[in-house]
Subunit: 257 residues, 2 copies
């Protein structure tokens, strides 16, 4: 009998988020599940790892009948602990999310959800990050969960090229309103930040980071376009950040000592 796939599930909104509960439900038909998720929200942690503090790991009863742990660290810490300390091997598949909020375009860089998937790719594991374009803690994850199963099943069947994971973003709304999936490139965008300056009760100044997501990328092949047009965006995402096309022109520079 063929062994069932072992699916590692993590996220960045913590083990108690609605999004990870949906992801667990969506992965259950596909294999055996192990969950290692942060014990508190870790949004915006990017590819951070914990090196100046010790990590705590606890068994969790959040999902009865499923092996689950919480970790005091970041999503990338969760992946490392899962592989090297808990299951002590590479899982068949790693899925992260479903994130409460978009990780499209340049958000991939700030995203704990996607950094967990990128870490999976570095470790040679077929990995997918899922995000729903709804920050609400009570968001409706039904359509996202439906597509999570379809896409994860395809990755199990087709595999993923080494060095690549998938960044999947799902528009808000009911399943019937969605137009299906679209393979995209990462849209060019940035956060036009602003800082909300306040004073604490003791007169000390502090800032809250806020911002407006801004793009001038009008391409119809981007995840931004797909999501605006009610498609689920799928961006093949690699951890090789080399701008290969610039190597030859940089070789023209005179950098002699």
């Amino acid at each position: 009998m063929e062994e069932k796939p072992l699916i590692l599930i993590t996220n960045d909104d913590s083990i108690s988020a609605k999004g990870i509960a949906q992801l667990v439900k969506s992965m259950q038909p596909l294999g055996d599940i192990v969950i290692v998720a942060p014990d508190k929200p870790q949004s915006g942690m990017g590819h951070a790892i914990t090196i100046h503090d010790p990590l705590r790991l606890k068994k969790s009863n959040q999902f009865p009948g499923i092996e689950a742990y919480t970790c005091s660290g970041t999503p990338v810490d969760c992946v490392k602990l899962a592989i090297y300390e808990i299951i002590k091997k590479r899982p068949t598949l790693l899925v992260s999310g479903i994130n409460h909020g978009s990780n499209a375009a340049t958000n991939v860089l700030y995203s704990g959800t996607m950094s967990a998937a990128v870490e999976g790719a570095i470790e040679g594991i077929p990995s997918i990050g899922f995000s729903l374009l709804d920050h609400s803690s009570d968001a409706d994850f039904e359509a996202a969960g439906h597509y999570a199963t379809i896409i994860a099943k395809s990755v199990l069947e087709n595999g993923l090229q080494s060095g690549v994971c998938l960044n999947v973003n799902i528009p808000k709304g009911k399943k019937k309103a969605l137009k299906g999936t679209k393979i995209c490139r990462q849209g060019r965008a940035f956060w036009e930040d602003s800082f909300d300056k306040r004073n604490d009760p003791f007169g000390g100044e502090y800032f809250w980071l806020t911002g407006k997501f801004t793009t001038t990328d009008k391409g119809e092949d981007t995840d931004i376009w797909a999501l605006e047009n009610n498609y689920i965006s799928i961006v093949p995402t690699q951890f090789d950040m080399t701008a290969h096309h610039l190597i030859s022109s940089l070789n023209e520079w005179d950098l002699k000592k």
Copy 2:
């Protein structure tokens, strides 16, 4: 008279690290300097931003005669605060480092130093991250500083294509032992992690993340190879993480609902 370039300096080892002091010294001949650096070590913070906590920003006297600030957040927070709150414009150049320790190969993803440079690139600023292959707090930064001036000067003269920054790593050792610069691709590597498991005085279990940097990438065009052979490695690094070469094959997948 031509205006002097405005150079924003940050790092991840904190404003009191030896590496940033060298970088300040190396940039002084090239333009006017503003420093915004973390108030404590922020190594391994990757592209993390602070969204669940307020940020503190303080004037610093660390470098007499130079406008300098410390920030309670991550290196990326420092860049955002610098651009949107302090200088309220894009600087001519952003330099980050000089990091105490390598940011070559996949370390670029975990690195706060390089994430600050990548954030600069997202903001459209020519940006460079510098790292010395020596973790010691008292490392000898002289050779690294020499090349930092040369490379930053070249970027000011030649510019950098939009969407790209430079990841510069410098081998440990004296200037005369170095063979010069080499334009490289990011080497494929990963951390074979292990966790040092301990018990606190109250019986609670905790872990320290440790690991062994591991590569099977034998290419002579990688930063790993260059550094092992005593070259300064320069990797043009982009924030577009799309695996463009996979878009057409993923379009073959059947992902219909």
